[in-house]
């Protein structure tokens, strides 16, 4: 892995005054205390570059971007090299990269939104799929044209796509408010159960035939029930290009690609362009959350995560901060859901099972909660290695060693072992890789939480205070001085 956590953790400039959310949850966590002590020893070194705070932040930002780009670049390189070595066609390769970019984009975006909840504020939300569903369904219902029946099914309000997106994000935030108002006072594990129950209730509502079609104030609307909705509004990419008056240059780009891929280049370029736009959206999420995290608002959130009572005693209305943070995160989850599914052509409630929520959790935990950079890297690694990796690996293996038809059941595959024939079992395994990868995800999640609960980005977390508290005046800088606990101590209760 190109993101070696040790290089960052050992850096003397590393601001680890705030301990990681997971590590701090552990109470008397040995490694945590160790980390703090080393940071204290580093203080003397740091005093030298006292007046470089602004410069330091700038370099930190640069380095974070570098790490992210290195990881994503490494992933592309690995996929391209294996693809090229096995002689995939150009079209296939571009498709692979476009799909990979898409997945990295959506998982990074959602992991960033979740990081605001769990990493910054310490809110254990496992209802992500519900907020995504509400965002996407609202968008679809607002933007779908008024239908005359037929294959396109239920009708929508027929408003422009951007109105739909705004409405979807707003409704997701509102649902966040409805959940947050009563639930935020609950313990973390109770909040978890409430949010997952909420996301299931949302899914049941969209599944139900009751709201398949209904009329509000004379406007016909519908969720489509179990069969879902056909997203028969204009193609979002085309609309955006038209809006930006880029349709001409884009057509030129398609023609240019047409020289490499002669037959029908447009879908390939479209998919690629959409994925590239997603990456811009990821950058937007990252910037927004970084700004939020560094703002006074973000510092209160981190303080709440570390010790809610202490924050309250400083006169902060912690409930209000938690509600705002929860709503912002839910709005971003709604937007993430919209960006994920708006270009897919059709929408069904089956896309929003709790499984999806846990995918995003795994991505966040891989990267390391509490770090925006970690969230993006976690999203990228999850998408490339755990989500898409096993399927890509299957395609590669099948290309190199054609194993023939897989047996229908595990029993047949297993029975062949008695004659020392492992091929059927391998073929069966490859054939069911889509199922098996979820087993792999589960095992990886357990492994990470046991061995590296702070994720890939290690103790790389942001400073909670606006000034660096490690730089104290000389007179007080002795070992016996009680350390100002910028991290609110190591306990979380």
């Amino acid at each position: 892995m190109s993101a070696d956590p040790n290089t960052t953790a050992d850096d003397p400039n590393d601001p680890d005054t705030t301990t990681n959310a997971f590590a701090s949850d552990g109470g008397a966590n040995g490694s945590d205390a160790g980390g703090n002590r080393t940071s204290e020893n580093r203080t003397s070194e740091n005093r030298a570059n006292e007046n470089q705070a602004g410069d330091f932040l700038g370099r930190l930002f640069d380095r974070d971007i570098t790490v992210i780009l290195a990881v994503i670049g490494g992933i592309y390189f690995a996929y391209l090299i294996t693809g090229l070595a096995l002689g995939f066609e150009v079209r296939g390769l571009i498709n692979v990269i476009a799909r990979l970019t898409f997945l990295i984009g959506v998982f990074s975006m959602l992991a960033l939104a979740l990081n605001l909840h769990w990493g910054y504020t310490g809110l254990f939300n496992i209802g992500i799929a519900g907020f995504m569903a509400v965002g996407m369904y609202t968008m679809a219902m607002v933007s779908k044209p008024a239908s005359t029946g037929g294959a396109a099914g239920v009708s929508g309000l027929g408003l422009p796509i951007w109105v739909g997106v705004v409405a979807g994000v707003a409704v997701a935030a509102l649902l966040g408010l409805v959940v947050a108002l009563p639930a935020l006072r609950l313990r973390a594990d109770y909040l978890a159960i409430v949010t997952i129950a909420m996301s299931e209730i949302v899914r049941f509502i969209y599944m139900s035939g009751q709201f398949q079609e209904f009329t509000v104030f004379g406007a016909e609307l519908g969720t489509g029930g179990g069969s879902g909705l056909i997203l028969n509004y204009g193609d979002p990419l085309t609309e955006l290009l038209d809006f930006l008056a880029l349709a001409g240059p884009y057509g030129g780009l398609v023609d240019l690609v047409g020289t490499i891929i002669p037959s029908n280049p447009k879908p390939v370029v479209d998919q690629f362009a959409y994925s590239a736009l997603l990456m811009i959206a990821v950058a937007g999420f990252y910037w927004l959350l970084k700004r939020t995290g560094e703002s006074p608002f973000g510092r209160v959130l981190k303080a709440i995560r570390e010790d809610e009572d202490a924050t309250g005693s400083l006169g902060k209305n912690t409930d209000l901060f938690k509600i705002k943070s929860f709503m912002l995160g839910c709005a971003l989850m709604g937007l993430g859901g919209i960006l994920w599914y708006m270009g897919q052509g059709a929408l069904t409630p089956l896309s929003f099972k709790p499984k999806l929520t846990f995918f995003i959790w795994i991505a966040l935990i891989i990267g390391g909660a509490g770090s925006n950079t970690g969230s993006v890297i976690g999203g990228a690694v999850f998408a490339a290695v755990l989500f898409e990796g096993p399927l890509y690996f299957r395609n590669l293996v099948v290309r190199v060693f054609p194993v023939g038809n897989a047996p229908n059941t595990f029993g047949e595959a297993f029975a062949a072992l008695s004659t020392l024939d492992v091929v059927p079992l391998i073929a069966f395994t490859l054939d069911n890789m889509a199922t098996l990868r979820l087993v792999i995800m589960g095992v990886v999640l357990v492994w990470i939480i046991q061995n590296r609960p702070e994720g890939l980005m290690g103790h790389r977390t942001e400073v909670a205070s606006s000034i660096d508290l490690r730089r104290r005046p000389e007179s007080r800088g002795t070992e016996s001085t009680p350390r100002a606990a910028a991290d609110g101590g190591t306990r979380d209760e």
């Binding site: 949850d25 609950l186 594990d189 159960i193 029993g411 979820l438 589960g442 999640l445 939480i449």
Partner: protein
């Protein structure tokens, strides 16, 4: 108490807890509507009785599975999201044995052990049922319990034991990983298809006439009732009358203090997994026997209802889990009197959310593991 006092107290209640008032009024409205419906004949008594019976059966399954979840929740202090997949594991292991015992000689062993994966054997053709093949049922039931015990102990050893000193949230996340691994391993081996497992001819049942219609009780209902009530009573006795129960209560209360007193905490943890695992596996097996179909998602879909029951009853309380299970089961089935059946589960979740908001300590608060 004077009228003024009552008035001011009432006013304070309205101001302090407006949501509670709304929920309370809504509950009263439902009861009035229900009684009115029965009186005017809009709701048939026999239909209600059928729903109540159905809800009781669901409640027994949920309660039985809930005891195990409640025990581990209170003793190890974490919400085990893999519990639903323990239920599924129990069901699959038990039904593999039932298929084997019932179909030996009529189909090949592999297909039987895979519970007819890929349509190789059909449960309907084997004619499995509590009255037709009692030995196969009992065999499956025992294996379901035993297998789940072994599974729970193995997972505890591999996953949870190295994490004993970590927070409940870390353990919860680990349990999500376990749930994924278990569920999709089951899907990998047994396929994702939903299959019917009981005899095609239907289950023998007794019909009783009640005022305005018939209420049916099937042989599988009766089996479930007997086994669930028997096990619940057994566990209750075990925890009330033995040292183990006392040790568990002590541990749930304060683990360090329990250790200092000389309670072998690791052994208590193992005992918890043994009792909880056995009940969970049997609950999974009975659930499948009762509803007649088996799928890899069964336990996961049941899990939130089990959580609802456990929270409703109060974490750590065995009575609470049983009572919570019955309430959740009845909510699930009776809610169709008012709302479309699509939302029956949503209603049960809503009850759980309301309990979390108004009485997060549960109905049987403070009575751990008894």
């Amino acid at each position: 108490m004077g009228i003024a006092d009552t008035y001011s107290e009432g006013r304070r209640f309205v101001i302090d807890r407006p949501l509670a008032l709304v929920v309370g009024l809504f509950g009263v409205l439902l009861i009035v509507d229900f009684v009115g419906g029965l009186a005017t004949g809009r709701i048939a008594v026999s239909a209600v009785a059928t729903l109540v019976w159905d809800g009781l059966m669901q409640g027994l399954v949920v309660g039985l599975a809930g005891i195990g979840l409640s025990m581990t929740y209170s003793i190890l202090s974490f919400a085990n999201f893999a519990h639903g997949d323990y239920i599924t594991s129990g069901a699959f292991s038990g039904w593999a044995v039932t298929y084997l015992l019932a179909g030996l000689g009529r189909a090949d062993i592999g297909s039987l052990l895979l519970v007819g994966a890929g349509g190789s054997v059909f449960g309907g053709a084997l004619g499995i049922g509590a009255t037709q093949t009692p030995i196969a049922i009992v065999g499956g039931l025992v294996i379901a319990g035993l297998f789940t015990v072994v599974l729970a102990l193995a997972i505890d050893r591999l996953v949870y034991k190295p994490m004993r000193d970590q927070s409940g949230i870390s353990l919860l996340i680990a349990s999500v990983g376990v749930a994924f691994a278990l569920r999709y391993l089951i899907a990998f081996v047994f396929t994702t298809e939903n299959r019917g497992v009981t005899g095609a001819g239907g289950v023998p049942e007794i019909q009783g006439y009640l005022l305005d219609g018939f209420v049916a009780v099937s042989a599988h209902d009766a089996t479930l009732l007997v086994i669930a009530v028997g096990l619940m009573a057994g566990v209750h006795g075990l925890l009330q009358r033995t040292k183990l129960g006392t040790a568990m209560r002590a541990m749930a209360d304060n683990e360090d203090l329990a250790k200092v007193t000389g309670i072998p905490t690791e052994r208590v943890v193992n005992a918890t997994w043994v009792i909880g695992g056995a009940l969970t596996g049997i609950a999974g097996y009975m659930f499948v026997l009762w509803k007649g179909t088996l799928g890899f998602n069964d336990g996961w879909l049941l899990l939130l209802l089990v959580f609802a029951a456990v929270i409703l009853g109060g974490i750590g309380s065995v009575y609470g889990a049983i009572l919570g299970g019955l309430i959740i089961g009845l909510t699930n089935s009776l809610s169709v009197l008012w709302i479309p059946s699509d939302f029956a589960r949503a209603a049960a979740f809503l009850v759980m959310i309301l309990v979390l908001l108004f009485r997060p300590e549960g109905l049987f608060s403070g009575r751990s593991t008894a």
